[in-house]
Symmetry: C2
Subunit: 352 residues, 2 copies
């Protein structure tokens, strides 16, 4: 008998590689290729000037960041919850809302962390197969369940689901909280945010990691009606009262202050993405229409794994999933036009 018998055994999520070598083209973790808004650097200098304040605990309600989000999105502060990246927000939401013992539903091909959280928190789940074209069939989510999670746009497929279909799912499941994970929504698709006051069982989760270029800061948020947010806060306050550091709250708020920079960089990524889809076709790739900052591609001749390894050998990192149904696909993050040229050059060589 040893302490080891009391240990919770889990199979953790495997994040994309973060190579220490800086001489790589890193198109494997859906990071934004552009820096955060310059106002973030200014905020950091302001924090340095008044660094004494770091001796104090942050506001448990993260009021500064919550209020900045409320202004930016024109949503009441009591409809907003913030956390240490959308992973933190989602983990809290799974613990809070999926406590029925009934299976939670999400697509068989989606963000793989959903399954990891269910296993960690011992939430039963059922995988709902995507259609053959990797689209979500809303009708399949209209069966008894303990909760629903839809990534929109979905990952790694890059495909957006229309709001009418999501409304169908929400309306058919008044007894369940429906989480819509909008990590990539700023690159395409339609946000459910306009419906936040309409449905009392809708929780929308977003992040600063993608469109706001702040993966390194760890900021995520959820929008929902006040009672949902209040339940989420109760669990969060049972976990860690002061999760959002003072500096991150301020850099997050600073990022929201520069709407022009945000729109401009998002548009650049969208343009690069659309050009990439065409260019990749010329090498024999095809992909669904992407509403995200990545492309989900398959080649008409070469196995995805082979291309993945050939790119890696050239110091170009993309994401390959050794998973049923998608093991002949690659997820390629949209980088700068310069990075994409390096990718095209390598692929032209690999596929010739």
């Amino acid at each position: 008998m040893s302490w080891k018998e009391n240990v919770r055994r889990v199979t953790p999520y495997t994040p994309g590689e973060q190579p220490k070598n800086t001489d790589v083209v890193k198109l494997n973790t859906n990071e934004n290729p552009y820096p955060p808004a310059p106002a973030v650097a200014e905020a950091l200098r302001d924090i340095a000037d008044g660094y004494e304040i770091l001796r104090k605990y942050p506001d448990p309600d993260s009021g500064l960041l919550t209020n900045a989000l409320a202004d930016y999105y024109d949503v009441d502060p009591d409809r907003i919850f913030v956390g240490v990246g959308s992973d933190d927000v989602l983990a809290m939401a799974f613990q809070t809302f999926f406590d029925s013992g009934k299976p939670v539903l999400f697509p068989d091909i989606t963000y793989s962390f959903y399954r990891v959280w269910c296993e960690l928190f011992r939430i039963p789940y059922s995988l709902i197969p995507l259609n053959d074209d990797f689209r979500i069939d809303p009708e399949r989510f209209c069966i008894p369940n303990g909760g629903i999670v839809i990534a929109n746009p979905n990952a790694p497929t890059s495909i957006a689901l229309d709001t009418a279909s999501i409304e169908t799912i929400i309306r058919s499941n008044p007894e369940s909280v429906v989480i819509v994970d909008e990590a990539y929504i700023d690159f395409g698709g339609s946000s459910m945010l306009p419906f936040v006051n309409k449905y009392d069982n809708l929780l929308i989760v977003q992040t600063f990691s993608k469109s706001r270029s702040m993966a390194g800061a760890r900021i995520g948020m959820a929008f929902g009606q006040p009672e949902l947010i209040s339940c989420l806060k109760d669990v969060k306050f049972s976990f860690n009262s002061y999760t959002m550091s003072q500096d991150v709250q301020r850099t997050g708020a600073a990022s929201l202050s520069d709407g022009e920079y945000f729109s401009e960089t998002v548009l650049r990524i969208i343009n690069t993405r659309n050009a990439a889809a065409d260019r990749l076709k010329s090498f024999g790739f095809s992909c669904p229409e992407s509403a995200a900052n990545f492309l989900f591609v398959t080649h008409d001749r070469l196995p995805a794994k082979e291309i993945f390894e050939a790119l890696r050998a050239r110091n170009i990192f993309v994401r390959y999933f050794a998973q049923d149904r998608i093991d002949n696909y690659l997820r390629i993050t949209v980088g700068t036009p310069e990075e994409m040229e390096k990718l095209y050059s390598a692929l032209s060589d690999i596929t010739k």
Copy 2:
């Protein structure tokens, strides 16, 4: 039937008040009255200069901060785990190591979050009464259990437990992980860190929030043998791969670089604390010998709640716990000598 029936209902931890009014003497949350090391401000300026890096996810292993801790404490990096404050580290440790279904043991009077985590994670627990003088009796922890948590020095009692007693507890419980929560250890008492290689069931938890004046940054850490740390990381990676933001890792490492500032400010607090114990006696208070940055006081005549309210009316915040056995005590954080003079002046008036 509604989504509300699927919600996890919890009674969250109540943190000490964080008054928005800055014109208060805030001695209620055990914050450090001195700023972080000046190197922290420099680190923030460096981060501002290279803020572009925030677009990238942080190193999931928080290597920069882990290595800085390894150097500072002369402990192998694979014996170190870091998290978003010691609350995050403790919450992960509870989930990881207390999975047996047997009750976890901790004192009836201790950090009240232990009970909240057990309830959140559905871990059974038994409260082990402190002696009448609020000391921990190690023998009482030598009964069948699913894990043990000892805060040393304990809070809110401020009393340290000797390492020999803690070793007794560790040796008597080879089948349990023993967590020693050393949030206040730098202000007194003896750390179990020298024993980290000796016992395979010992996990030591510390924080940057108290002695390092960085409550606003949210940094906590655990030390233990590599297998313990590895189990903890598996659960953490199942929860949130990238919890430590890039900027916080760097400000934390910067704080460790200035050992002289650290020793000097800790010593100032110890001196102020010892002087405060004497001074408070002159007003009719008594308290156990404190090994922390706070005093746990009771008055020979006036009820604690009355003093708490009278201080609050004078904009001096201390902590009162409406809890069995300690509802005639106050926990008073050690502030600057100037803040303490304001406290003495008020108490002289209140107790006259």
